[in-house]
Amino acid sequence: MSDACIIGIGIHPFGRTDGMSGMDQGAFAVRKAMDDAGVAWPDIQFAYGGSMDAGNPDTMVERLGLTGVQFINVNNGCATGGSALFSGQMAIKSGKFDLGLAVGFDKHARGAFNELPADWGLPDWYGEAGYMITTQFFATKITRYMHDHGISRESLGRVAAKAFRNGARAAHSWRKQEVSLSDILAAPMVSDPFTKFMFCSPGEGGVALVLASEKKARELGKPLIRLKAAAMRTRPKGSFEVFAPSIDIERGRSATSLASVEAFRVAGIGPDDIDVAQLQDTETGAEIMHMAENGFCADGEQEAWLAEGWTEIDGRLPVNTDGGCIACGEPVGASGLRQVYENVIQLRGHGEGRQVPGPPKTGYTHVYGAPGVSAVTILER
């Protein structure tokens, strides 16, 4: 079975683009990715597209050309991008296709997501009483984690400071202003222990990736960046998820750890072999907990990792080299593909001011979201 290779990448800058629809940002990213790959829309044999709030992705053919291409929409919450990529990979690996794309885009209203209980299988009172709030979940999860594993508030701040530092060096990021650790820690609380600088915001953006079989990639003369693994998992028993009126006393693993183990198994490598990682950082505590859930360190070791700067650009495992969701915002449909985009940039050595030395040979991405979905990819050059 051929590996799927990523031969073209395109992005519409994240943040706020007034007057441009999410769909147009997605189509913009597709054109960029095709230019990068040196292919044209009529060459594309299949597409998987995802968006939560910005329309049906397949209607993009109106903008790109009515070639009759197979275009399948993917709607999988925060794992939408990862699921689109998984599907694209399988389409290539099956031998049915040798050139296609995965695209994700979104455009969310300002402010926090506004979810209704019925959409999540919950009773109305849960929302009426003020519990349909994602920030409550992230804050209670990290509060318990800090208590159990000795993580300090300074560590929460260090992750944000790194995000803004890296984001300031990425052309596609939203937040380009560095923020000092002391300003981050002293800012107003949103949900204790998180201040306003420690959360990402829903935003806008689009990302597209052109996928090809190894044979096709060679024909096109493209460097081989292989998608060694793409895995998506839902929550197991005993996990702790967004919008939970109750959780089990007997704690279990998470969707993240299941997806991670599967991706490493498929790729045939382990966490120590990864050179750069993009981890879901809905808030800074998520990045910290996800370092352990993805197998990169033991619970509690993050305190030393962050104090020593091991997740910085020049550290032993650079994490969120473009500033992650905290600096880029989170357009849900595009967010997971942004992580893969950034890893391709890093593996190609095109990261400029944020380039990981080496350049790296392996890249890892991880998304997580409600109600307990996670997607992981591993790239190798």
Binding site: P117, W125, Y131, I133, T140, M189, S246
Partner: protein, 131 residues
């Protein structure tokens, strides 16, 4: 005075929360899911704070039905021994005094204290505190 929803509290004084026991696995959840396979199970009234945060901004309406005027509140997960960990507000304790492991007991508080007719939601307060 009325509860925010039917099926949350038992009809006794003081009331208990009604959870659901999965007939197949024995797993206890709150609230009791309105589907086959779960039996109603009144939950213990006392437990310990498992984790918490402070809600510092007014949630969006809909779905939130609380008062327009906003005061921060404490949201906790309370471990009811041998049963489950329930999400609930804390009352009768200042946010800065909340600790993981603190012993708390079930009470009811109005969603809007100033409303003519109180709609009651579940909350926990430190054991021995004045209601």
């Amino acid at each position: 005075m009325q509860p925010i929803a039917q099926g949350l509290f038992t009809n006794e004084t003081p009331p208990r929360l009604i959870g659901g026991r999965d007939r197949a696995t024995g797993r206890i959840v709150f609230p009791c899911p309105p589907r086959e396979g779960f039996d109603q199970q009144p939950l213990g009234r006392t437990g310990t704070v498992w984790s918490f945060t402070i809600q510092r901004y007014r949630p969006k309406s809909p779905p939130y039905c609380g008062p327009d005027a906003f005061r921060p509140w404490t949201v906790a997960y309370v471990e009811l021994p041998g049963e489950t960990i329930v999400e609930a507000r804390l009352t009768g304790v200042k946010p800065e005094d909340v600790r993981i492991g603190m012993e708390v007991e079930l009470t009811q508080i109005p969603l809007d204290e100033d409303a003519a007719e109180h709609v009651m939601i579940h909350a926990f307060r430190p054991v021995g505190s004045v209601p």
